[in-house]
């Protein structure tokens, strides 16, 4: 019973989420008590489904870009030729993290204008650090005798990277991507302040019109997405780790 309970719970959350964003009208009676003066209980200035998909797309684009750049950077600075750039790249990525996302948005708007672009820039910068750190940790803590065997077998540097280093680092790099995705899911809501189409729109609309129902539905959708995606990526990570014989079994 214990084994299937979490799976069932996740399935229920997923089903509820899908039903809510496709047919939010069904939940109107539930949310009605949270509104005042006959305000609408369900967000009515756009479809929740479209907003959710746009929210996810923004996060996906930013995360893919951050993954490519962060992993490439980590590979570069762990090669003998790039070792001297290690401190520099570390501080660059750290700076990306110390800028508050709101500040990045505010600075990006004059440069690239309102809309999705400043949000993507903020999410990209924010997503870099966890992935870079994890990729760096993974690539620098590979088992010594395995790397020795790879060299001894006559693999070239490129073959070692593709056939041994990256596959062995995959679980830890995935962990970094997971963190980055969850941070981005939450941060993306702020993007709505600069007119990006994300679920933040619902929350901000609720805050402006003092409509608790809006705030709640926007917040809950983002939270449910985060939990489900976090769980899904954790499962992939565990699978990958088990394949490497590192599973916590």
């Amino acid at each position: 019973m214990k084994a299937w309970l979490p799976a069932l719970l996740r399935l229920a959350v997923l089903a509820l989420l899908v039903v809510f964003i496709t047919s939010p009208g069904w939940f109107e009676p539930l949310l009605k008590p949270l509104t005042e003066n006959g305000a609408p209980a369900i967000y009515n200035q756009g479809s929740l489904l479209t907003l959710t998909l746009q929210h996810l797309r923004t996060v996906l684009v930013a995360t893919v870009a951050a993954t490519i750049v962060a992993v490439a950077l980590a590979i570069l600075v762990t090669r003998p030729a790039g070792a001297e750039f290690l401190p520099l790249s570390r501080s660059l990525v750290n700076i990306g993290q110390t800028f508050p996302p709101v500040a990045v948005l505010a600075l990006a708007v004059p440069a690239v204008g309102f809309g999705e672009k400043p949000t993507l820039i903020a999410l990209f910068l924010y997503g870099l650090l966890p992935i870079f750190e994890n990729a760096l940790t993974a690539l620098t803590t590979l088992p010594g005798n395995v790397m020795e065997a790879a060299r001894g077998a006559g693999m070239t540097g490129w073959q070692r990277l593709m056939k041994v280093e990256l596959p062995l680092s995959a679980p830890v790099i995935l962990g970094g991507i997971r963190l980055s995705v969850v941070i981005s899911l939450a941060t993306a809501t702020i993007g709505s302040t600069v007119a990006a189409k994300t679920l933040g729109e619902v929350i901000i609309a609720g805050l402006i019109s003092n409509n608790l129902a809006f705030v709640l539905q926007g917040g809950l959708i983002v939270a449910a997405l985060a939990v489900l995606i976090y769980d899904g990526l954790s499962a992939i990570e565990r699978y990958a780790a088990r394949r490497m014989g590192q599973g916590a079994e």
Binding site: R151, A153, M155, M244, G245
Partner: protein, 312 residues
């Protein structure tokens, strides 16, 4: 044939390997012994250029080992290390196929070779081929490690304390397997160990390293009888010498005519085993049989004791 000529490795001010020259005859086993930090591993790694020497030359069958790129050289030389270093994300069969795959062998040839080696190492290809290294025991992992090193039919096999992580029983078995396989393929093997017992047992010749220098390079009997320095003497272990000497020869060579009571000892057991058996059972003589059970004669305590004396 491997010719090492005046090879030196320096890291800044420290000299790790100091002007070492030695020749390893084809189809023999050379063991390199020394304490940790004696430079024995560095010497080994300069043969397949995992370490580039500061000066000196290594020639394999007459060709300078710098005449091809390092990675290409390493594909032609087997390399087995302590703790096996198997790729944890690849199956046993894929691990063994590593070098043949790098060399671009076709699938059938790779599969045939992997099956041959696994069978040779008593691992059923059907049962063990698809498994991952972490699903094997320590002894099995070690065998896969050596099988991987031998996969591309190298003429030369370098081994760096390959049996270091094994328990004594599996270790003895692994040593026997190695001797059998060396006989079968005629591979030239250079094996680094810190265990004199292992060096004497496996080596046709033993190289003793101390502080980066080659102190003595000779046949085991010679090392035991005439250690070149106090260091070699200590390494051999003064109280062990007669027994190590006996362990070099099979009982067959010590047979005297005549018979004896009791259970027979096989002719290819070592003389050391025979002496131990004699002392333990309190008998003065043991009958000796060959593999077919034919009586060869007997060994006596007296005869063995004579053989354990310092060779003149």
């Amino acid at each position: 044939m491997i010719e090492i000529e005046g090879i030196t490795k320096r890291y800044d001010a420290t000299t790790v390997v100091d002007n070492v020259s030695m020749v390893i005859e084809p189809r023999t086993i050379a063991t390199i012994v020394g304490t940790s930090g004696s430079g024995k591993t560095t010497l080994l790694r300069m043969i397949n250029r995992l370490v580039e020497p500061t000066s000196g030359v290594v020639r394999l069958d007459g060709a300078d080992n710098r005449s091809v790129p390092g990675y290409q050289l390493r594909r032609s030389i087997g390399y087995a290390i302590q703790g096996h270093g198997l790729f944890p994300h690849r199956t046993v069969a894929q691990n063994i196929a590593t070098v043949p795959l790098l060399l671009g062998w076709d699938r059938d040839r790779i599969k045939a070779r992997v099956d041959e080696l696994m069978t040779l190492y008593q691992l059923d290809p059907q049962a063990y081929g698809p498994r991952y290294p972490h699903e094997l025991s320590g002894g099995q992992q070690q065998r896969v490690g050596v099988a991987r090193a031998l996969a591309a039919e190298p003429n030369v096999l370098l081994m760096d304390e390959p049996f270091g992580a094994l328990d004594p029983i599996i270790r003895t078995k692994a040593q026997e397997d190695l001797l059998a396989i060396q006989k079968r393929f005629g591979t030239t093997i250079i094996l680094v160990t810190h265990d004199m017992e292992e060096a004497v047992h496996l080596g046709d010749k033993i190289a003793v390293m101390d502080a980066g220098k080659l102190v003595q390079y000779a046949k085991p009997a010679e090392i035991l009888a005439r250690p070149a320095s106090d260091f070699v003497e200590t390494l051999v272990g003064a109280s062990e010498k007669p027994f190590r000497l006996l362990s070099l020869g099979p009982v067959r060579d010590a047979v005297e005519p005549g018979g004896a009571e009791g259970e027979a000892i096989p002719g290819d057991a070592t003389q050391r085993d025979a002496l131990a058996e004699l002392l333990w059972s309190g008998r003065p003589a043991l009958p000796v049989k060959d593999a077919d059970g034919k009586l060869l004669g007997r060994v006596t305590v007296e005869g063995l004791v004579k053989r354990a004396a310092r060779p003149q």
